[in-house]
């Protein structure tokens, strides 16, 4: 009975403040959409980091005919130089940092090049002797790139040491900034949502102070008096969260399909991961609304 009673109170409260309820729904909708977008971006970043950091290698390019760096002044790399570089890479001293070393000959390089640019006319004009041979070094810890750079970039026969991570870092920093921006907007919007919920609940409590006063006189407990208001706030906020979830779900689905067609090599977050984020958003909305309505009521509904 008490549950039915409380629910009917909630219903009458929602109807009475319909316009405020709608504004709460919309504000939580917008704010949670941004929270969710920031969350999804972070997920995507860590996904890509995990995927790429395992695969990025440090490439030690060896001198070819037209290399410009001073270590290549003596011309293309010699067989002894190549052997000593390999020995150093596979030696005791670096074994702590290096997990694998692959040698890529000029012919291998051409093969990879042809694969990568399969449909491009540029393939025709490139020959194996224009591409440098290299050692592809996989590191135990991708952050330790500096050690390889230091050890090899001044060795004779080595042209350049390049870290593929550098390029990735640039991509990640752009994505990080985007997610930070989304988070900032999310923060401001969430603050708005919390304040709006508190105001709405306070207004609702004020417009029903006669009822709550009478409830207090006939011995209703604080929970019975406050619960309808708190539920009002929670229902409105969860409504907004559901809208945000739907929006995020549809747009992420669309974006992921679109992007993975553009960049088939890139690992994108899966639909399941998006789905997992949505209950978190709904829970967050319920929690924020519940706490802010309780705080708003503390001063206004006295027993």
């Amino acid at each position: 009975m008490r549950i039915a009673f409380i629910l009917s109170e909630v219903g009458s409260g929602l109807r009475r403040n319909l316009s405020m309820v709608i504004s709460v729904v919309l504000v939580t909708f917008i704010s949670l959409t941004f929270v969710g977008a920031a969350g999804l971006l972070q997920l995507q970043i860590s996904q890509m980091k995990g995927y790429w950091y395992d695969r990025v290698q440090v490439a030690v390019f060896l001198c070819v005919d037209n290399s410009m760096s001073p270590t290549c002044a003596a011309g293309p790399v010699t067989a002894e130089q190549r052997a000593s570089i390999r020995a150093l890479l596979e030696g005791e001293n670096l074994s702590r940092y290096v997990s694998a070393v692959e040698y890529e000959s000029q012919d291998d390089a051409l093969g990879h090049f042809q694969d990568q640019f399969a449909n491009s006319p540029i393939v025709e004009s490139v020959t194996a002797d224009q591409l440098p041979e290299s050692f592809r070094v996989s590191l135990v810890d991708a952050e330790k790139y500096g050690i390889i750079d230091e050890a090899f970039s001044s060795l004779p026969g080595v042209d350049v040491v390049s870290d593929q991570r550098e390029l990735l870092e640039k991509v990640f920093s752009v994505m990080n900034r985007a997610s930070l921006g989304a988070l900032l907007v999310a923060g401001v919007m969430t603050l708005c949502a919390v304040l709006l919920i508190a105001t709405t609940i306070r207004l609702s409590a004020f417009s029903r102070r006669r009822e709550t006063g009478i409830m207090g006189l006939v011995g209703a407990s604080k929970a019975v008096i406050q619960l309808p208001f708190v539920l009002e706030g929670v229902i409105a906020a969860v409504g907004g969260a559901l809208l945000a979830s739907g929006t995020l779900w549809l747009s992420s689905d669309f974006l992921i399909t679109w992007l993975s067609r553009l960049y088939p090599e890139t690992a994108f977050i899966s639909a399941q991961q998006v789905l997992l984020l949505l209950p978190v958003l709904i829970l967050l909305a319920a929690l924020l609304a519940g706490v802010s309505s309780l705080l708003a009521l503390r001063r206004y509904v006295k027993v």
């Binding site: 009975m1 039915a4 009673f5 009822e211 009478i214 006189l217 006939v218 011995g219 019975v224 027993v303």
Partner: protein, 234 residues
């Protein structure tokens, strides 16, 4: 049932206390009129019984318990044992008479069946048989007060507090209300009624406690009230 031990209530330091060292005992099943001029502290007395406010000094005992010892979350339980009626009825305007009475049962978690059985009985007791579906604005003042009394007694409280329940009603209607209160009292409920109405006090011949500037100046077993006349003379 209700005991005040040297109770003083000070609302603000600058003005004189609303109640000043009031000691008073109301026994089970007693009917007490609380009389006195406006501002003498009658409503304050009732508020202290309900723990709507706390005494500044002294102790208020209700049903054997010092209300100061009742923690906040237990106050609703205290109030379920006390019915209250006011001069301005305090009905919910958008609920029918039946729903207004049922409200007091709903908030305490009574089941729908119990409510459906009890409310019509109580409406009959207060003489509103067949008017349960009326909205408050479709009822006369006297009828609205009957609804309020029905709401106050529907949970079978041990104590009924009435703050000038006849204040807005004509003499005949007032007598009708008094009959209901006497009926409630005869069934064992302790009734404390604050009033200005000397006609009522004098015709019922119940115990009369008179307050003046927050002090008990008179406590008679079958008293009368001539307050307004004395005030005019003095």
């Amino acid at each position: 049932m209700i005991r005040f031990d040297n109770v003083t209530k000070i609302y603000d330091q600058k003005s004189r206390p609303a109640l000043h060292s009031v000691s008073l005992e109301v026994n089970r099943s007693e009917f007490v009129f609380l009389v006195g001029a406006s501002g003498s502290g009658k409503s304050t007395f009732l508020r202290l019984v309900l723990k709507e406010d706390t005494a500044s000094r002294g102790a208020v005992h209700v049903a054997g318990r010092n209300v100061a010892d009742i923690p906040g979350w237990r106050v609703p339980r205290l109030r379920r044992g006390i019915g209250v009626v006011f001069q301005d009825f305090r009905l919910l305007p958008n609920k029918t008479a039946f729903a207004n009475v049922a409200f007091a049962m709903q908030v305490t978690g009574k089941s729908r069946t119990v409510i459906r059985e009890t409310v019509p009985d109580v409406l009959r007791i207060v003489g509103l048989e067949g008017k349960g579906n009326r909205m408050p604005h479709e009822l006369s003042g006297g009828e609205q007060q009957r609804v309020a009394i029905a709401r106050a007694i529907v949970n079978k409280p041990a104590i009924l507090l009435a703050d000038e329940p006849t204040g807005n009603l004509d003499p005949t209607t007032s007598m009708g209300i008094m009959n209901i209160l006497e009926h409630v009292n005869r069934n064992g409920t302790t009734v404390v009624m604050a009033t200005h109405d000397n006609t009522i006090v004098n015709s019922l011949r119940k115990r009369v406690v008179e307050l003046q500037h927050g002090r008990v100046v008179r406590d008679e077993a079958q008293g009368i009230y001539v307050g307004e006349i004395r005030a005019a003379a003095g």
